[in-house]
Symmetry: C2
Subunit: 525 residues, 2 copies
């Protein structure tokens, strides 16, 4: 695929209107061809109007049609995976082999959502049959299904340039719901974005869908994001990135005359709690696992286990020594952008300034955009006294917390803000402490992991990638996994309808053989 650098607005390639940019190779600091078009409010308006024009037909495609479209995107993504991985590696400094795996997994996500669409459970169909003889008043026939919200704006993320970017989880789940997508490409990987965007654009054409089902825009500064969030025809927004960026978009959308849902996935330190039995039994193993998991993607991951808390006692020395040795083995690696690298240096310094002891460090960087892996240590008392120690450092830094007894561990658990995940390491002897810890974590996180450092994030029915603020802006939803589709749906009830005017999923004969809730009981009849 020859990169054109154009914006993709519906079926068209659109040239720059407000200047151009080039990708930066963060490993070399050099700019990479070609020039990429930048657009502004006019291109946003054109893309959103097309999305709105596509809405009625796209949201009313049959389940089979929509599933076939998602499968087609998956096929086409797989067909370009080598090319996509190579260009993405050039723009991000991430290993091509890892990125090819990411492309394969992302194709898999589209296939999984195709299955979700075919199964049709996301429609959450419910039927309350008529009760003409009910006293004191009869009941009319009521039939409910979920319908698509409308055009969705998705902000591509920087750190997983495929799975959380143009053809990522958000796009897959919004398209599965029946919502046209206007994608705001991240400027850190414009070529990777174009390849993914053109895959989807071509699939739209090949499937014979309205061209407005997908557009990709790109701009400079905040202007384009603001134009997207402000556009009156946009019905929902998703964002993965920093708390500052996410909350700016969130608050802006809430100031619209008609506020719209904004799902932002922002910040999490994913605390890991090591209970005494586990520490004594396998302190060294936990130390190694922590570092290996935390350094994945150069620590640039929302699920990085950034803070590990262990009750001081047998095994802690082994954990600390193993973690230190493991960190010292880590090569300096290219971070995503110079801006992210600079913020990393600044935020790691914040940990040091807040009393963090540096107890281990990886290879000293040679190149300008390289990040050095760092392992800090503090006491539980320090963690409790200093909120900055409980905040994310985006990049390859880890904080060990030496906690003084189980009560202080529980107190520390209460001190964290909302999290995407938390992990417990425990043995049978730790049961009482685990049972005290669990309700605290349940209240503060969207996922609790037991005795594991998990990679990758599963994309399945029981996945939650969400959590209380500031992990996300709305803990009631997940952005990864099959439940992510729920962000883009709303219920509509059809009351007293003749069968022939009902949407197909609600017709009396159940022609799609869906699971439906009929008079309060699940049935496929």
């Amino acid at each position: 695929m020859t990169l054109t650098g154009q914006l993709l607005i519906g079926g068209a390639g659109v040239a720059a209107t407000v200047g151009t940019m080039k990708a930066l190779n963060p490993a070399t600091g050099e700019l990479v061809e070609p020039e990429f078009a930048l657009g502004g409010a006019a291109e946003v308006d054109r893309a959103v109007r097309l999305a709105d024009a596509a809405f009625d037909s796209y949201s009313h495609t049959t389940l089979a049609e929509r599933a076939a479209f998602l499968d087609l995107i998956a096929d086409r993504l797989e067909a370009v995976k080598e090319e996509l991985a190579a260009r993405t590696a050039l723009e991000t400094g991430l290993p091509a082999v890892q990125l090819q795996g990411e492309a394969e997994r992302t194709a898999g996500v589209f296939r999984k959502f195709a299955t979700v669409v075919r199964q049709g459970r996301f429609l959450q169909t419910a039927i309350d049959t008529a009760l003409p003889d009910r006293q004191p008043t009869p009941r009319m026939d009521h039939r409910l299904q979920k319908v698509a919200l409308g055009p969705v704006v998705i902000f591509g993320a920087s750190n997983f340039p495929i799975s959380y970017s143009v053809a990522g989880n958000d796009t897959a789940s919004a398209l599965a719901a029946g919502c046209p997508v206007v994608l705001k490409a991240h400027n850190a990987h414009p070529g990777a974005s174009e390849i993914q965007g053109r895959v989807i654009q071509q699939a739209v054409a090949e499937a014979g869908l309205h061209e407005g089902v997908f557009s990709l825009v790109r701009g400079a500064g905040n202007e384009i994001g603001e134009a997207l969030v402000d556009h009156p025809l946009v019905r929902a927004v998703t964002f993965t990135g920093s708390e500052g960026g996410g909350m700016a978009l969130y608050r802006r959308a809430q100031q619209r005359p008609d506020p719209i849902p904004v799902f932002t996935e922002m910040t999490s330190v994913n605390p890991t709690f090591v209970l005494p039995g586990a520490l004594a039994a396998r302190g060294a193993e936990i130390g190694v696992g922590l570092v290996q998991r935390a350094m994945y993607n150069v620590g640039q991951a929302c699920l990085k286990p950034a803070v590990l808390l262990a009750v001081d006692g047998p095994g802690l020395r082994e954990l600390r020594e193993a973690a230190t040795a493991e960190v010292e083995k880590v090569a300096a690696r290219t971070m995503l952008t110079p801006g992210i690298r600079d913020a990393y240096t600044r935020n790691a310094q914040r940990i040091a300034n807040s009393g963090g002891d540096l107890i281990g460090a990886g290879e000293v960087p040679a190149a300008a955009c390289d990040g050095q892996s760092l392992l800090f240590e503090v006491t539980g008392e320090q963690l409790l006294a200093e909120p900055a120690l409980r905040e994310e450092v985006f990049g390859p830094a880890i904080l060990l917390v030496r906690v003084d007894g189980t009560d202080q561990l529980l107190e520390a658990a209460r001190a964290f803000r909302g999290q995407l995940s938390a992990t417990i390491h425990a043995e049978a002897a730790d049961r009482a402490a685990a049972e005290q810890l669990l309700p605290l974590l349940e209240r503060r996180t969207g996922r609790i992991v037991f005795n594991a450092f998990s990679i990758p994030q599963e994309v399945s029915y029981a996945s939650t990638h969400g959590g209380p603020f500031p992990a996300t802006s709305d803990s009631r939803f997940t952005s990864v996994g099959m439940g992510a589709i729920e962000r883009f749906l709303r219920p509509v009830t059809y009351q007293n309808f003749p069968d022939e005017l009902l949407p197909q999923p609600l017709r009396e004969a159940n022609p799609l053989q869906l699971w439906r809730l009929v008079d309060g009981e699940l049935t496929r009849q």
Copy 2:
């Protein structure tokens, strides 16, 4: 039950801290005993802290315990229904017989939510079993359930002083979800609020639950509402009332350091579209049905069919004459409060000032708080030109719109803002027009009714009482019906857990015999 006038904070009755108030009998304009306590930020803080303290134990009650508690509230509500109806009639001017029916239906809502809790489907349990041999990476066991959000603040509404007030749909669904409730009582019916509040307070005690599961506060002006919305321990808010009031609370909550979900149900004119075949076949019947439905509760209802649009042609004269005659039969009736009555007069005048022809009027009011039923008429062109004609008049006013052809009817459908409901009257010959109208209505409303004027609002599995802005602040949820519980739940995933530490609904043996999604298939095994 002797009214004490106290605030109900946990198990305690609490005296006034910022003055007292008395109920007003709107029919006579007289104040009614006793004095009711007003509280402020200190009482809010005490109630919310108690709710937070109750959260862990209440949200972890077993499904059987929680269902029994809801049934107990239902029993106790029924036991006081005569007394509740009598006091409520005194405070609202609504007929006691209607209010007794409302109390019975509301008890029924608690019983229905008890069933929802026992069925356990609201937990939306999903299990992805471990795949240790999966390539390229194994999958760990993942298990998801929904958990309660935390303490919920509910603003009692004025117009349905039982079913949308203290013991209303919001309270029933929040308690069903496992959330403690702090109820802000509406000052238009303090006695009715106390009776309902003490029913719940006593049920909490009798069920042996933490006293913080329910509190009722009352205050003067906006201060108490602001203190509730601002309180850092509050995790969600619901409100039913005006667009101005709802949006003030919504926007305030979005300005918190940690924004929280606010579900506001605000305004809707519930447009009714009469297609030519239906108009010719039963114009007069539709005219009578419209007026009878619209005048329910003195027009003070969120589902009032406030605007009827009919294509000019055969049957329109009959519809207009029948509606006019029906309106002229309507007695002047007491409105809920002098403030509501004054706003009604003002807003009805707005319709007249915007070009509405008064073509029918009910009995001229004698008493100060009485509302006169009014029937206005405009053309489709006027409706399209003047947004004020498409806005709600809270009270017994109706607007007939004489539309010039089907195209103008469709254009008018596109002009409405988001609605709770819309109605189509159509015969077989109207099928083509109905099929054009349906997608427009689906996009703009939460419920579409066919050939009916429906009372009451059903509270069931397929109910939707929601819709695009400004009908509600979040169209993805309903405030009435079994789906209302979803507002107060969020997903949590338990990954790689030992069976004995899993919540009961997720254990391998499925001890509660729940429907669960196991590896993508629904099963009760």
